[in-house]
């Protein structure tokens, strides 16, 4: 019996998904242990061992585990709380402040109380050294090794844990950086070292120096954590494969993660989108919107054949120019607090009650009404069956808080105020979905929406109404979607080279050579990760723009097109993508196209759990009905008594007419009056607008 386990360490809970051939996947949750998250991991594994039939010891359990895929937020948390490693930066003389100045931006222009972030490396540890390359990478002045030695002496005296090296124009020539690196390795063998062109050999100095410094900032922390985790797993005899989740939605070996720690910085939600696609495929869809609503934040991502990627992002206002999934996060969750602004408008969030003190109804000291409190008043959350009944919710306290802080100021009833809070938070989330669809040239109505997170499925109908989305899928594993995604992820390694050239004057063989370089680097990593040749794949992307534009469009090109120097095909793809994104192309004007970067993604396919299809049980859901209760029906702006179903008892093919509630231990689903629901072959709840039965024809 071989087990695969996905482990997602979150701020409050560590989620586990256990799969084995021929059995239903199982969900486990245990409290996280932020000081040393590996303890929580072991605790959870112990719970899993205990639940086996017959119960096993930890050692017996892990002996049967062939793969653990692990998502961690240790690097994210270190950055968000400014608790990274003490590091030094060696950079070109004259530009050491780029890291701190961040191109001179103040994100809040009217707010004079808004201050700059603390730099990742303090100024006295940012050392400029002489030596210069020109824009083509040609040496103008040799690297001054004495300057490098001086910097190293300061780092020694200051006892830095990590060193970053980033020089002007190194994207075009890595020589100087490698010379400096050699000295650092010799003199500071124990320091964690990041060389900019090893991590990110692409143009744009600020992006590169910030990304390099981030890698050094979190590298020692991730290394330490991996030591702890691998030590504990080793102690109990784990001998399988351990893989680490990265921000690009792929996984990597711990050895590669150690060197490229920044690849994990935005990996928290990165497993979700790929998992969403698995559930969409049950309906023959290769695309979907994936939303995840937790306690404090709401994440939205788009999948078109594979999750949509972006080439850069920010963390704690620091630039991180590494490929990552294009996940949009807004401050909307169960803990979002409702308040009235000075103009008398109801607002929800971004302040959140968090888990502590939490919403008022948790009775843990919260006094301000949160989204969850509104959900309780509206009947969407069952106060006696929250977390499967482990936690009692206080409806009266929720009503009082809403009355005081929202209903009275707005001159409304408590129910109207709760409905308003519900609507405003759903509207905020709908705007978040617009960010990843309409703003990127996609029509949300054409996508099924996969809904995850404990709080997601009681809000999703209204989000869909707002965006005219006719189809939603709520997986059984909705509350731990990321843990599912970890088991569905492939090994992925991204490479980039800057190659500035015009299409009408292109050195195709040189471009091809760069691609071959990156391909063989990728191949090397995949071989280290024990991926056979038949499981290796390579994808090429170009970042191009019309001449004199400043922003590039990144798009996939077939490898034959580059190999054959087929500029017309590639130009055609660029025009089409530009048109999709911005509503026009300049194909007819004959404007020259420039290439700036070329990218390769090396993918190693992993073994994935196969979901067993459930038996068809017919449309009648009545066996699963466990009662009825009064809930708010947005379409009627009034309450009505609706049937409540036990989600665990619903079977494939069961059809539920909205409005209705479905309850499971870790999640509740509200099927609004506009929707009906059918259980699909994976046991997911497929909600379709009443006039769009065609969308679920296969499942009915």
């Amino acid at each position: 019996m071989t087990l695969k386990i996905g482990i997602d360490v979150g701020g409050t809970f560590t989620d586990f998904l256990v799969t084995r051939e021929g059995a239903d996947p199982q969900i486990f949750k245990t409290l996280s242990t932020p000081k040393d998250p590996s303890i929580g991991v072991i605790n959870g594994l112990r719970d899993i061992a205990d639940s086996m039939d017959p119960p096993q010891t930890l050692e017996e359990l892990v002996a049967g585990v062939d793969t653990i895929v692990h998502g961690t937020t240790v690097t994210t948390n270190a950055t968000l709380t400014s608790n990274g490693a003490k590091s030094g930066l060696i950079t070109t003389d004259g530009v050491r402040d780029a890291l701190e100045m961040r191109r001179g931006i103040r994100e809040e222009q009217y707010n004079n109380r808004y201050t700059n972030v603390t730099p990742l490396v303090p100024r006295y540890l940012r050392q400029g050294v002489k030596g210069r390359l020109d824009r083509n990478g040609t040496e103008v002045e040799p690297l001054n090794l004495d300057d490098v030695r001086k910097a190293i002496e300061i780092f020694k005296a200051e006892d830095v844990q990590a060193v970053s090296i980033c020089f002007m124009n190194a994207f075009a020539n890595a020589d100087h950086e490698q010379q400096a690196a050699e000295l650092v390795r010799a003199e500071l063998p124990d320091a964690y070292l990041t060389v900019s062109t090893d991590l990110l050999p692409s143009i744009r100095f600020y992006d590169r120096v910030s990304t390099t410094a981030l890698n050094s900032y979190v590298g020692p922390i991730l290394s330490h954590y991996l030591d702890q985790l691998m030590g504990r797993l080793g102690e109990i005899g784990f001998n399988g494969i351990l893989l680490i989740m990265q921000s690009n939605g792929g996984v990597m070996s711990p050895e590669i993660a150690r060197e490229n720690a920044a690849l994990t910085l935005l990996s928290g939600p990165a497993a979700g989108p790929g998992a969403g696609l698995v559930y969409a495929r049950a309906h023959d869809q290769e695309k979907c919107i994936v939303v995840d609503m937790g306690g404090t934040s709401f994440e939205a991502a788009l999948v078109v054949n594979s999750p949509i990627m972006v080439n850069e992002g920010d963390i704690a206002r620091h630039r991180l120019a590494l490929p990552m999934l294009g996940i949009h996060t807004i401050g909307a969750g169960g803990g979002s607090i409702g308040w009235i602004d000075e103009g008398g408008l109801l607002r929800m969030g971004p302040q959140s009650a968090g888990a502590d003190p939490g919403p008022v109804s948790y009775q843990k000291g919260g006094t301000l009404p949160a989204c969850t409190d509104a959900d309780v008043v509206l009947g969407y959350l069952n106060p006696d069956f929250f977390a499967g009944g482990k936690m009692q919710l206080d409806v009266e306290a929720a009503r009082k808080a809403i009355e005081e802080h929202v209903a009275k100021p707005l001159g409304m009833s408590i129910e109207e105020a709760a409905a308003g809070m519900y609507r405003v938070v759903c509207n905020n989330m709908a705007q978040g979905v617009r960010e990843i669809t309409i703003k990127r040239g996609f029509d949300p109505r054409e996508f099924p929406m996969v809904v995850a997170g404990g709080a997601g499925p009681i809000h999703s109908c209204l989000i869909c109404d707002e965006l005219d989305i006719p189809f939603q899928i709520v997986p059984r594993e909705s509350s731990i979607l990321c843990a599912v995604g970890m088991l569905m992820s492939d090994l992925k390694h991204d490479f980039v080279r800057t190659f500035v050239a015009r299409f009408d004057d292109m050195d195709w063989p040189r471009l091809q050579a760069l691609i071959e370089d990156m391909r063989s680097e990728g191949e090397k990593l995949l071989i280290e990760e024990r991926i056979g040749e038949d499981r290796r794949e390579y994808f090429i992307k170009l970042d191009c723009r019309y001449q004199k534009q400043y922003h590039e469009v990144s798009f996939v090109v077939p490898s034959e097109a580059v190999a054959n120097g087929d500029g017309d095909t590639i130009a055609g793809l660029f025009h089409a993508e530009h048109n999709r994104l911005y509503g026009y192309s300049l194909e007819d004007q004959g404007t020259p196209i420039e290439i700036i970067n070329v990218r390769v993604q090396a993918v190693g396919t992993t073994d994935k759990p196969v979901y067993a299809e459930e038996e068809h049980a017919g449309p009648d859901p009545s066996a699963a009905q466990k009662g009825e209760r009064s809930v708010y029906i947005p379409e009627r702006k009034d309450f009505a008594v609706v049937p409540v179903y036990d989600g665990h008892a619903l079977k494939r093919g069961n059809r539920i007419t909205g409005p209705a509630m479905i309850e499971e231990v870790t999640t509740a689903i509200f099927v609004s009056e506009s929707f009906d629901c059918v259980v699909d072959k994976f046991g997911s709840f497929a909600l379709f607008r009443k006039d769009r039965e065609d969308l679920v024809a296969g499942a009915l």
Binding site: G104, G343, G420, V424
Partner: protein
């Protein structure tokens, strides 16, 4: 208010903001000129059928409040001759435009055959005709020496391109990219139009009209509540403007009288000096924008930017003053009078709301270089954003912000990326660093300025300067010290030194010249001796305060020298 759904009101407010943001993204991503896509010198907005502002995304605050007045002017100008599919251009500073180079597009939005709203975008175009490429002509005395005037003109009528009109306009503009960038503005307006119509289809015109009024009301109340916290009274302040670009040693004064009466405020500039006989003149809209953006930094930053916000504020700027030039005076410099205007307002209100104002900000001194990049066989134009941004003023409780530049941008204009700068110009960057001892000292120090050096990479380079802040540094408050001066100087390969005036045009700058610039620090707030000792020591260690200054100004006894 009986027909108002307070929840729907929140929904509208959020939707309006999302629409103008989306218009902004569309414009930024498709524009060519670095002024638009890197510096984001543009604004997008939506307006109701009468031209009242529903929402805007500002990017650069100085443009922020210039669209609505023109919208109202266009309505008056065309009367009932406005149709679906019309696209209207405008830049004319004598019909409410703010700056000649800021060319706006307006698109009327019809629903159920009725004009119900407008979408508009305005960006600083890289050229707009006139005597000098780019528009900054220190020798100009009349508008025609600066720019092509575009009073409201339809470039599309009922959906059909008026090719003759289009060609007439662009026959008078040097750079082809301006056509592309105006197309990008039109595209942005189309994005806004689609979204407004979708909103109307969802909620209906009636609901839209009612709720829009309620939203204006709510915002007005927010602004009134903020004004009411300022004690009633009449407050006066002034600030100098150095050099009109033509008469050496010339100096002018901006004078503002601010009257606060309960929940209403009036800014009266009647005593401001007369207009200049150069291009250093404001227009009503550019000056009023400057007033608003300065005042907005003193109130709750969350107030929505719509018609209701402006309602409790009156701004009086008589025609013929340096802040509101009479026809046909030259005005291209007018936007850059904002820092001076801001100084006057801050000085006036400093004694009244000392906790809510900053000390003086570093003023803008900008340069622009053009020439031929031989290696690429192509012309280049570069506005030297990274060099021009000094520090902001400190306020009680908060240090100034380093290197975010003049108050009219307030951190909205980004530096060129160093490597992109070297790709897009033949110049080579030598230094761009925080400038030690530039921050005005104080319990809360001013923002640091920067020192920037590059080697000129083209022969016969043309360098234009425009700005101020090289005569008087940013002022400190309540015992805080002043910032440092702006400096630009060029050392030619033969060793000679050229110091451009603060509004100047230098021709034939040779290759190999070393260009040197300091953008000064912002003013400090409060007694430097009260600044926490560990903070001063840390800044000495980081080399942004010298050991000498730490000792003599901050009174730090023991100092560890910076490396």
């Amino acid at each position: 208010m009986s027909d108002i759904d307070p929840i729907l009101l929140s929904v509208y407010a959020r939707a309006f903001r999302s629409i103008t943001d989306e218009m902004s993204v569309s414009l930024q991503q498709t524009a060519r000129s670095p002024i638009l896509c890197e510096a984001k010198d543009f604004v997008t907005g939506i307006y109701d059928g009468e031209g009242n502002m529903l929402e805007q995304t500002e990017n650069l605050p100085i443009l922020a409040f210039s669209l609505a007045p023109v919208c109202k002017y266009i309505l008056e100008y065309f009367g009932d001759d406005i149709h679906p599919g019309d696209v209207i251009f405008h830049n004319d500073v004598f019909s409410m435009g703010n700056q000649n180079n800021d060319v706006a597009v307006y698109k009327p939005i019809f629903f159920e055959d009725k004009l119900v709203a407008w979408s508009a975008a305005k960006g600083h175009q890289a050229d707009i005709g006139g005597a000098v490429q780019g528009g900054y002509n220190p020798n100009a005395v009349e508008v025609w020496q600066e720019a092509l005037r575009i009073p409201p003109v339809k470039v599309y009528e009922k959906g059909k391109l008026r090719k003759d009109v289009w060609d007439l306009i662009f026959a008078n503009i040097r750079l082809d990219i301006v056509q592309e960038d105006m197309r990008a503005e039109i595209g942005s307006c189309t994005v806004g139009e689609r979204r407004i119509i979708a909103l109307l289809e969802k909620y209906g015109l009636d609901s839209f009209e009612r709720h829009k009024e309620a939203l204006f009301d709510a915002t007005r109340k927010m602004m009134e509540a903020e004004i009411a916290t300022i004690p009633n009274g009449v407050y006066e302040g002034s600030a100098p403007v150095y050099y009109d670009g033509r008469h050496e040693g010339s100096k002018f004064t901006i004078r503002v009288k601010i009257t606060v009466e309960d929940n209403h405020v009036t800014f009266d500039y009647s005593d401001t000096d007369a207009e200049t006989n150069g291009f250093v003149n404001g227009t009503y809209t550019s000056s009023a924008s400057a007033t608003l953006l300065t005042f907005l930094q003193m109130v709750n930053p969350d107030i929505p930017h719509n018609e209701g916000m402006i309602h409790p504020i009156d701004i009086v700027i008589p025609e013929g003053t340096i802040l509101n030039a009479s026809y046909p005076k030259a005005t291209t410099y007018g936007n850059h009078l904002c820092p001076n205007n801001a100084d006057a307002i801050i000085r006036a209100l400093a004694p009244v709301i000392p906790d809510r104002i900053t000390a003086g900000w570093n003023q803008l001194l900008c340069s622009l270089s053009t020439g031929q990049d031989d290696a690429k066989n192509d012309k280049y134009v570069d506005i030297f954003f990274m060099g021009m941004k000094g520090g902001s003023g400190a306020m009680k409780g908060t240090d100034g912000y380093d290197h975010i530049g003049m108050i009219d941008a307030s951190g909205g204009v980004l530096d060129q990326d160093y490597e992109m700068f070297e790709q897009q110009t033949p110049h080579r960057l030598i230094k761009h660093e925080l400038l030690c001892d530039s921050a005005g000292a104080g319990e809360w120090r001013g923002g640091l300025g920067v020192e920037t050096v590059f080697e000129v990479g083209s022969e016969d380079t043309q360098v234009v300067t425009f700005g101020d802040g090289d005569f008087e540094p940013a002022f400190g408050l309540n015992g805080g010290g002043e910032g440092t001066l702006n400096i630009i100087k060029m050392t030619y390969p033969d060793g000679s030194e050229v110091v451009p005036k603060n509004k100047d045009l230098i021709l034939e700058v040779p290759k190999g010249t070393i260009y040197y610039q300091q953008a000064g620090g912002g003013g400090g707030y409060g007694d430097p001796k009260a600044r926490p000792r560990d903070l001063v020591a840390a800044e000495v260690r980081n080399g942004v305060i010298s050991a000498d200054v730490a000792k003599s100004v901050y009174g730090l006894d023991k100092v560890e020298a910076a490396d």
